[in-house]
């Protein structure tokens, strides 16, 4: 997941264009005047503090939330797929893996059971995601990574142009995060456009070709090296953060200042650093 995966901008019609989008729940603006364009084959990470409107942005892009002002235009015939946050899924619902994945082909068939072609497509996707032997299991009988894969498989079965994912790595351990990131990178490599939201600045967002810092409005958008700068981060998170460099990648560090008086009456400033996520797991393993 390096800069080499980002493609040069092609002069085609963008998949989705948001212009001055404002979304409101009750009387509160959750998104304010958001401009955003998602082009073909892009891979974008949206970051920001809790409650900054990340999920609402996904909904506005997907069209399940109608803006009170501004416009969201989708390219004609655009096929989108949405992978919801794992916690929002009703895991006790009686569906097997194959039944769940088949929902991805919801349009265009009048019979309840899958056609031979659909069965083959499901098998192929499950095999590609390495969960083929689980097809008749109930969705709750799976591990966290397998559950995530089932929903990616469901999204892929609809052969989307744009994949929207809400926090695909929330509550996921480092190994699984790598696995998911690797998988998404592979799908992106085949031409799929992906937009995901994440809390994980260093573990996810910094690895993507393009990121968007959101706090009700778009504070900054572009390559991680251009966006992960103290000024944009402070305006996004409302707290000052430091950006270090590690192996050519920006690493964001939280930065709390505690002022307290010492016995002689002078003030000392202590700075406590706290890395956001883990950029390189081997760095931690290598520590004595």
């Amino acid at each position: 997941m390096t800069e080499s995966t980002s493609k040069p901008a092609i002069a085609t019609e963008p998949l989705v264009t948001l212009r001055g989008v404002t979304c409101r729940y009750a009387s509160e603006d959750v998104l304010r005047d958001v401009d955003l364009t998602i082009g073909e084959g892009e891979f974008v990470g949206v970051v920001g503090p809790s409650g900054c409107g990340k999920t609402t942005l996904l909904r506005a892009i997907a069209g399940s939330m109608v803006p009170v002002s501004g416009s969201a235009t989708r390219r004609k015939g655009l096929r989108m797929a949405y992978v919801p946050q794992v916690e929002t899924i009703n895991w006790s619902f009686p569906v097997t893996v194959a039944q769940c994945v088949l929902m991805g082909r919801v349009v265009g068939r009048l019979l309840p059971w899958p056609s031979a072609a659909e069965r083959a497509a499901v098998s192929e996707i499950l095999a590609r995601l390495d969960i083929e032997d689980l097809r008749d299991r109930h969705i709750r009988e799976l591990s966290g990574g397998q559950q995530q894969r089932v929903f990616i498989a469901r999204a892929m079965l609809g052969e989307p142009d744009l994949l929207l994912m809400d926090e695909p790595t929330a509550g996921v351990d480092a190994r699984l995060r790598h696995e998911i990131l690797h998988l998404l990178d592979e799908l992106h490599g085949r031409g799929l456009a992906i937009l995901l939201t994440t809390h994980d600045l260093n573990g996810i967002a910094a690895h993507l070709p393009r990121m968007v810092c959101l706090n009700r409005s778009v504070i900054g958008a572009g390559r991680p090296v251009d966006v992960l700068v103290p000024d944009i981060l402070e305006r996004t998170y409302g707290a000052s953060m430091q950006v270090l460099e590690h192996g050519g990648m920006p690493v964001v560090v939280d930065h709390f200042e505690h002022r307290h008086a010492t016995a002689d009456g002078r003030e000392h400033t202590h700075v406590h650093g706290h890395a956001h996520g883990h950029t390189h797991d081997h760095a931690h393993r290598g520590a004595p």
């Binding site: 919801p84 899924i89 009703n90 569906v95 097997t96 769940c100 709750r140």
Partner: protein, 283 residues
């Protein structure tokens, strides 16, 4: 013994009642799967009470019951659907207001016009008497419509039930699916009201899916199992109703409750955890 069991089959009213009860069980079992998994049990309960208002009004005004209560039921169903979809704060309360007010209106109409009697009791608790050819046809029509909906819109309905927001993004018209489901639910309540009774329809909607859920984790299997369990309970309950001389609604529900208890005990902790999770749908 066998003669005694077969005796009621000589009577046409019983044969009609038995056909209606069996179809009613199957229909409620089928529709109930969606009702239960969408966390709409309360709506099913409320809607049956709302339709009672339409039943009272049409009985007293001398309008055809299926037309009068049907129009009333469809209006209530769409109203409830609208309230629920808008996610108004406390939509449960709003549904409670609409449906119990309608039920109370029905009771008041009956009291005011002194219309209590056999049909009043039948509407509340179900009765085999008064089940005619018209009722057999009505329930057969609703069965065909419900099956057609489940068959032809299988994935869209499943997707809407499981994960409505993602379904919408994936191109499903979830508003239409919800409305269709509400209409089929209203039709099912209307067609089964005479045999099951307003106060007991909710049980016929909820118990068979709950039993089926304890027995399987597959959606398609849950659909046919729940329909079969509902049909079986309707058939056995109707026979018991004749032999015990108890209204059909209570006997059908008691048979279903017994089936629930047996499966609950037989499946042990596994079934229990499955059925415990059933109410969390839509959370």
């Amino acid at each position: 013994m066998i003669d005694e069991l077969l005796r009621p089959f000589e009577f046409e009213f019983f044969r009609n009642g038995l056909i209606v009860a069996t179809m009613a069980g199957a229909l409620c079992g089928l529709v109930g799967v969606y009702v239960v998994l969408k966390g709409m049990s309360y709506i099913g309960h409320g809607l049956s009470h709302a339709i009672f208002g339409g039943f009272a009004a049409s009985t007293l005004l001398g309008i055809n019951f299926l037309l009068g209560a049907g129009a009333w039921g469809v209006a209530s169903a769409l109203m409830i659907n609208g309230v629920t979809r808008r996610r108004v704060l406390g939509s449960d309360a709003a549904i409670g207001v609409i449906t119990t007010a309608s039920f109370a209106l029905g009771l008041a109409l009956f009291a005011f016009f002194d219309g209590e009697g056999a049909s009043f009791d039948a509407a509340l608790f179900g009765s085999i008497l008064g089940v005619g050819t018209q009722d057999v046809i009505a329930i057969a029509v609703v069965c065909v419509l419900a099956s057609a909906l489940v068959f032809l819109r299988y994935r869209a309905l499943l997707f809407t039930t499981f994960d409505p927001e993602v379904a919408e993004v994936s191109g499903v018209n979830t508003a239409r699916m919800d409305a269709l489901l509400m209409l089929v639910l209203a039709g099912s309540i209307l067609a089964t009201m005479k045999i099951l009774g307003v106060t007991l329809i909710a049980a016929a909607l909820v118990i068979p899916p709950a039993v089926a859920r304890m027995l399987t984790t597959s959606f398609s299997r849950m659909l046919w199992m729940s329909s079969a369990i509902g049909a079986g309970c309707g058939f056995v309950g109707m026979n018991l109703s004749y032999h015990l001389d108890v209204q059909s609604g209570p006997t059908i529900v008691l048979v279903a409750a017994t089936a629930f208890a047996l499966v609950f005990m037989a499946t042990g902790p596994l079934g229990r955890s499955r059925s415990a999770a059933i109410g969390k749908a839509g959370a």
